[in-house]
Symmetry: C2
Subunit: 728 residues, 2 copies
């Protein structure tokens, strides 16, 4: 059922429980929760409750250690299961794994940020029960999770036992050495409230979960008394109610979740308690209203409407919803994790995805300030990026940002990526440029940007090699965005963005020098900048860089030697061989011409204005024919370029691969979580692809080319303090 | 102390216990034992007792899984500690970690295959004791280990408790998931004998250790009675003797070690018992004599005498001794493990070292038959090599031999090696050629060789790529013997040996076709060989292969693009930066010009007669200057080529790096075990380097060029059934 504002599930499929848990995840940028059931569920499930910035440094697991590998990998932490309500009716546990599910309905109300579930089930003891559960994590009260759980016995009077609980004794599925990541600190259970405080091992983050709960009968709050229950790192309370047929029992739970990121560790339980108590005072209906309003405000500046294509409509709203609930810009220590708050996989929180794909989304939908926080995140981590480069043998303030990180330290450990996929540094510089182009906020350079650009430029200046043989600079041993080539020489994209960085760093420094000479002098001193020699060297490199190309075909070559490969096109690949990354051994993928995501095209997308349309067209046709799009970040760039050259059939074909990737679970991996960052790519495909939005000379421009069957496209973007409405 | 026939240690150094345990290891080609002490030792030690062919498939540990990786890594198994004798004097344990060691002497008598240790120690209770321990694993009775342990109390009468035991409850230090690899089967302890039987997990190898023991007082066997003691997987017996000052108590232990590789699992204890009982009947003195004779016979056909250089003399004999006790050719299922029976590290048993370095040694010192068993090992594993290639996408009987193996299955898991270091296939073909050149036994081709060559040729024919761009065949994505380059294109050595394989496979098949047409027809049928097309394709590839070269410098280029690197010479490297593999991150090593072992030179060494002396000289000078020799297999080839071009200073300088690598513990890693296979390189350096031995047209030829200060060099080699003596 395709609803423009809702994701709806109308039947219970035990084989899709984990996938649905991902799809129906809720979050508020600070924390999030998978769509696990409140009542016990003994079937397969991935329990997931995540608090942004609370991580565990899991000891690295490698086959063959290489110098320079990090000691640990920062894992997203599964934390206490605070939504739990055990239900027994006439002594029989309510468990959809053992019950007969008579009907089942679940919706993610994206407009209002609510998760709603209704079902009727027959228990093994023949009791029929109807349930409605509503929950959300509050966008307004960022430390609050709230739920209501209503229950009606349909076929007679019954004894209903309710046992709300928080279980903090949880594990990560993704644990390299099968350890638990949390230590118990303290807990207490009272008749109508309880709390538990835990501390992460090694990192010493503390978190308290404080619950207040109450019960209403037929809509009227009752004074039912619970008896506290405690286990190890587990607090709950139990009560047995005699309910009459068709009587509605509603249980409310208000959970304050406070972490030592924002409070003194000693005061955590109290801080969490305040949140829970205030929430209870407000009451569930008022909180729900508050939540709905907050989301409506977000949509008022972020919505995209597509006419004539319900699936596309639902798909794009799902992307926007997930991105807005993953990152809100309220905490500069956070970033846009590849799975957001929907799963554990990939650990870390920050990849180059943020800068390459997400920044334009947040600029347009959440505003300059939100995007600026993402830039500052990298500024704050500059010292760690310099340390990281030092570990790899670079000197004098050269900075290499990590491939994956939580707190600025590298977490990735596979040499061809960790050490060689250095184009990420380019994307971080490009994001600064992109931000300033969009916002006009050039002063960001003076405040933060220029130091980052300097560290990055120094990295490139040391990373290149002068080839006597060619009398050119070369860049040896890199992996481009196309990870289906490893350790190649002269990756066109990397060489191009490196040279661009060198020039842009110099320009930016010159601007600061001219406009704020005092500040510039301080930066020069602090960074021991040798203006004369370093600038000259940067420009020399940019001017004498080697760029591989195929003169005959008039295309840029992905890397040296690419044309030695057997040139087969994707259309001639046996479908049984795909996806290649599941069917072929790694060496076979590497020596084939097939491309995971086309990095020459990524470069043409970033630097579009530097190339004429025929150059874009020739390269697009060449690389698109060889690209298997086995990265979720791949198709969006192709959509934008295809639209640019007017190939709308191709653009729409590729758009379909990105817009409903998770909703339709193309790759059968939604159970692990959603592809949050690639959702920004879907948004780019619509806005920059079909609407053709660009910023030129401080103006928004559009060049709409809609897919044939779309009857309309309208959306809102934030631009320099105003909400601009586009309609086509 | 440098003795020509012995390795001698004259003081006890607690910090070098593990290193000495490696250096003084003993073996008999079937099993081996590190030089752990018989009595308890509570200091740092690496207990090691190994039985060839008994391995454990340890679950692979990787960071990022790649398609095609093997599920397990076959580990060399630490097995029961059969040498144990606990000693207590007046209740105080004899333990060199707690005692004051007054004097200490240990020798490895290489001439006779004996390990002898003498010491005087003062225990914490002031008892002074003198001990002599002698042990060996028998070259004649391959399932026998024997030891004598004599003890004298020097400063008064005393009560001596002796407790001989076998502890089968052992672990591997190298275990990916910290598991134990053995399951207990059965055990029994009697007053003068005991046994324990264990079975390996997953692989179900069973082994029994059966001990007979007796005590002599002042040289006369006594009828002292022991009381049996049992623990879990631990069998022993204890007795307390009242000994007088200066009285000599000698304890003898005869241990039969029988495995299910050679016996029915049900009969193991009995088989082991027979060995132990027979040994006891013969008596220790006779067994020792038998052992000495067996080793003297080996030396009669394998010795190398070097005049005027005691260190070189000792060094080369140590190499020969270790190689001869690692592999004897008695069991085709065994091979030459990189650490032999001296440590756990690297697991597996078979690397390309065997074919590239060890075959000539065994041909000359142990004879044709022994070397032939090594070839047959690969023949027997051909079906697994074909399977292995299939896993990587090859078809039609193409064979890729594993990088590391025990039973023919790949055990290595790092893509740039496992999938790409495919030159190993070439060495396996080359070993067949080398064997036939040396022995004249061309019929090996018909019996076994040609099928292996066919599988290998088919692999190469599928592994190459036709480059339209160059109108040449290219070989993409390989790692050469120089592992400081990964995933390169057109590694000269790999391309060269591939073409050579293709031609040699065809020639060999033609010879079989001509001489044994019936057999040839059978092979064609069995392998579905398409003579017309496959041969034509092979020759086409060999003729049109691309070989990178530097025309100006007139050298072969290690791979495409090598001259783009910054050309620094090793002599200009800051010594503080070495070894690079400990000081530099992996990407930095990869993009530098520095070479771990020079693969162009490996090719010139293998195919010397195809190149003129100036070509060898030019390439030698170019690559030697860039080679850091961070592989123990590297210097020997350089010695041989340096001698070939008459650069004797260089030859000797490099010889020093190989000949006493372990004895002098250059790399501070002898504690982990010895570099067994690189010892064959030291032998090659002397025989092919300084003596200039070659086989040409079925004749041995020599071109001696001795290091200046050597007063003489003589050695014996087996050649076509005769012992040839060389003297210079």
């Amino acid at each position: 059922m395709t609803h423009p504002w809702k994701i709806i599930e109308t039947r219970f499929d035990p084989n899709r429980v984990k996938a649905a848990e991902s799809l129906f995840s809720i979050g508020n940028g600070i924390m999030g929760q998978r769509a696990n059931f409140e009542e016990n569920y003994t079937g397969e499930s991935l329990s997931g409750s995540y608090i942004g910035g609370v991580y565990y440094p899991d000891k690295t697991r490698v086959g063959w250690w290489k110098n320079g590998y990090p000691e640990y990998f920062a894992k997203v932490l599964n934390s206490a299961f605070w939504i739990g309500v055990e239900v027994k009716i006439n002594g029989e546990p309510l468990d959809l794994h053992t019950a007969k599910v008579l009907d089942f309905y679940r919706e993610l109300d994206m407009r209002h940020g609510l998760l709603i579930r209704r079902f009727t089930a027959e228990l093994p003891n023949k009791v029929k029960v109807e349930v409605e559960a509503v929950r959300f994590v509050s966008m307004v009260r960022t430390e609050l999770g709230a739920l209501s759980y209503s229950l009606k016995v349909l076929n007679g009077d019954a004894e209903v036992e309710l046992m709300p609980y928080t279980n903090a004794d949880v594990k990560n599925e993704d644990a390299n050495y099968d350890e638990k990541f949390w230590d118990f600190v303290e807990q207490s259970a009272l008749p109508s409230s309880n709390y538990v405080t835990m501390r992460t091992k090694k990192t010493d983050f503390s978190v308290s979960w404080f619950s207040q709960y109450e019960v209403a009968v037929n809509g009227k709050l009752s004074n039912i008394v619970f008896s506290p229950v405690e286990k190890h790192a587990w607090v709950g309370a139990s009560t047995v109610l005699k309910v009459q047929k068709e009587e509605t029992i509603t249980f409310y739970k208000y959970v304050g979740i406070a972490s030592s990121l924002n409070h003194h560790a000693e005061n955590l339980a109290k801080a969490a308690q305040e949140v829970a108590v205030e929430a209870q005072k407000a009451g569930f209906a008022a909180l729900r209203e508050e939540q709905s309003k907050a989301w409506e405000e977000k949509w008022a500046q972020a919505d995209v409407e597509i006419g004539g294509d319900d699936e596309a409509q639902q798909g794009i709203r799902f992307c926007i919803f997930q991105l807005l609930q993953t990152y809100t810009g309220k905490d500069t220590r956070l970033n846009v994790g590849p799975k957001g708050f929907t799963g554990e996989k990939y650990g870390g929180s920050t990849y180059w995805d943020t800068e390459a794909y997400c920044i334009p989304f947040y600029l347009s939908t959440a505003g300059d300030k939100t995007a600026r926080e993402l830039l500052k995140y990298r500024y704050n981590q500059l010292p760690k990026a310099i340390e990281n480069a030092q570990k790899l043998g670079f000197t004098d303030g050269a900075a290499l940002y990590p491939m994956v990180t939580m707190n600025g330290e590298e977490c990735h450990n596979e040499w061809e990526i960790t050490f060689e996929e250095i184009h990420r540094n380019g994307a971080i510089a490009y994001a600064i440029y992109n931000y300033i182009r969009y916002t006009g906020d050039r002063n960001y350079l003076a405040e933060y940007g220029v130091e980052v650009l300097l560290g990055i430029a120094r990295f490139w200046a040391q990373r290149i090699t002068w080839s006597e043989e060619r009398s050119k600079y070369v860049m040896l041993g890199v992996t481009g965005p196309n990870e289906y080539e490893n350790n190649v020489n002269n990756n066109w994209y990397t060489n191009y963005i490196a040279c661009w960085c060198l020039r842009y760093a110099k320009e930016s420094m010159e601007w600061v020098k001219q406009t704020q000479p005092q500040l510039y002098a301080e930066i020069v001193k602090k960074t021991h900048f040798d203006e004369l020699n370093e600038w000259a060297q940067w420009i020399d490199i940019a001017e004498k860089m080697h760029f591989p190309e195929d003169k005959e075909r008039q295309i840029f070559l992905q890397q040296d030697g690419y044309m030695d490969k057997e040139q087969i096109l994707v259309k001639d690949l046996d479908p049984a061989q795909r996806p290649l990354n599941q069917k072929w051994s790694w060496d076979r993928i590497l020596r084939s011409c097939f491309i995971k995501q086309a990095d020459v095209l990524q470069g043409l997308y970033f630097f579009e204005d530097n190339f004429d349309i025929d150059t874009i067209r020739r390269n697009f046709h060449f690389y698109e024919a060889r690209t298997v799009h086995e990265s979720s970040l791949s198709p969006c760039v192709h959509v934008i370029l295809a639209a640019r050259i007017g190939d709308m059939d191709k653009a729409y074909e590729l758009y379909l691969r990105t817009s409903r990737l998770d909703l339709d679970d193309y790759n059968k991996e939604v159970n692990e979580g959603l592809h949050i960052t690639s959702m920004a790519g879907s948004w780019l495909a619509v806005i920059q692809g079909f609407a053709g939005m660009r910023v030129r000379d401080g103006q928004l421009t559009f060049d709409p080319k809609l897919p044939k069957h779309w009857t309309g496209l309208s959306f809102k973007v934030n631009f320099r303090g105003e909400i601009v409405e586009f309609k086509a």
